[in-house]
Symmetry: C2
Subunit: 297 residues, 2 copies
């Protein structure tokens, strides 16, 4: 079983617009709503590929209800801890050739709510038979910056593997928890002033760096590789989440590192081809897999 | 009793932002939500001035629940007809010197829901002792374009006065119902290819044209006037709704046309001074009233 943790889940709203006139009134053509947040994208990809997955985290308010209903409709198992605040929305203004994102800050989480989540998470770890936990995305206000370190420590106690995909302070603190894999992109690693080598020294057993079109660079206990998918063009949002999903599959099934990286590069390229984050076409994934170039460093 | 009708009520969301980077990810600083739609702005102003007012119309979904809760918190009486669709949201991107508005299209209203509203409205007219009905704003998809004509005809049967504030086809059809007052602005009148004179010929007993800084121009059964408030600067959104609120007060209390126009010009200038649409400071209104210049045409 794979558990994805989404502490700052979002209701992703997309406004399809012909053009955006600044300082004026704009009519929105089509409105599309869906459950968002990086951990939920990972859960969607895993569910599409038939992997057993449970989504947990924090949800509150009317946006939270919509997220919960959307996930229920997909058939993904959910174990969210309710909070009093309103889960955040993101609004994407999708013009023909340009998308502008607006991210709300997220609800304030009280200390009591955070401790309830920790208790719920501990119960879930022991009752669900979790093999892999995926920690993804930002933390809402009120959740301690070392949240991912705390959760990773809890996982180590039950022998559950951990993949960390975070940014800024939550990434820096999370590394100290010694996750099995950390998956930053180039900008995220730069923001915490680390390299793949120093990120390993900071605590991660393996580092998988996603570098956009240039593919992956991985430093692992079994060796170092780059993995490059064929050039694809499309929507890069969610490509990192698809890579995390592939790494979670690899941990769950005990794949070798070369296999994990081949699947990771192919699945994230398939995500670029898909219209929205969290979606992949399994046929595209299968077709891309033999085209990934793997090179030892 | 004044009844305001808001068929396309909205949840108005304001995002306070330092700047908007197009094609990029933007962090929203502060999120403010409130019940919106022109009819609700009119109801808020009337409630602030202590006038008896009931708000009716159509509300649905989670946005509709938030609108209902916000109105309940203000103490305004509500008699909304529930619909299955989701009431629209509007998003205002408020930068320092520029505000960009995004308007969702509104829910689809079924024929059954529309007929339920007509029945509810008929009951409200006879049971509430309504003296004045205010018909404001756009129609959601599915509501017939001649909705305001139908509602005006129902009001005539019970001897209730009607003020119409609409745009496009709903305005054109509404005039044929012979409302007591129609209140277009310059752009709205131009869009239906009418002048104040031809708008009267099309059915309105009186036409009050709002012309921004230039004040009001009114053609009425008792004469024609312009009314000019002192120059004020601020947020013009909601100034037209405040004017409608003043005209409703005038009808309710049987004020002369010169008094209605003096109050209308002062109240809409006070609305410009207020931070948000639907708000007025009664002290500013009282201070502006003697400064309005009224001139017969």
């Amino acid at each position: 079983m794979i558990i994805t943790v989404t502490l700052n889940a979002a209701l992703d709203i997309t406004y399809a617009m012909t053009s955006l006139d600044l300082g004026d009134t704009n009519r929105v053509g089509r409105v599309h709503e869906r459950a968002g947040g990086k951990g939920l994208n990972v859960a969607r990809v895993l569910h599409t590929l038939g992997e057993p997955v449970l989504a947990c985290g924090l949800l509150g308010g009317r946006a939270g209800e919509t997220v919960r209903a959307d996930l229920a409709a997909t058939g993904i198992g959910v174990r969210f801890t309710p909070i009093g605040g309103e889960s955040r929305r993101t609004v994407a203004l999708a013009e023909q050739d340009r998308t502008t994102l607006l991210n709300e800050p997220g609800p304030h989480v009280t200390p009591d709510e955070w401790h309830t989540f920790l208790a719920d998470f501990g119960t879930l770890l022991t009752t669900s038979g979790a093999d892999v936990v995926v920690l993804s995305g930002s933390l809402p206000p009120g959740v301690p910056a070392d949240a991912y370190r705390t959760l990773t420590t809890a996982c180590r106690r039950t022998g559950t593997s951990v993949i960390l995909d975070a940014d800024g302070e939550p990434l820096r603190h999370g590394l100290a928890g010694q996750p099995d894999i950390v998956k930053p992109n180039t900008a995220e690693l730069a923001r915490v002033a680390l390299t793949p080598e120093t990120a390993r020294r900071a605590g991660a057993a393996a580092v998988v760096l996603s570098r956009g079109h240039e593919g992956l660079l991985a430093l692992t206990p079994d060796g170092a590789w780059t993995a490059t998918p064929p050039a694809v063009s499309g929507n890069p949002t969610g490509a990192g989440d698809a890579l995390v999903a592939a790494l979670a599959r690899g941990l769950l099934h005990g794949w070798s590192w070369p296999d994990r990286l081949r699947h990771g590069a192919a699945l994230s390229a398939a995500a670029v081809l898909a219209e929205v984050a969290g979606a992949v076409d399994p046929a595209a994934y299968r077709a891309l897999l033999p085209q990934v170039r793997l090179q030892p460093l």
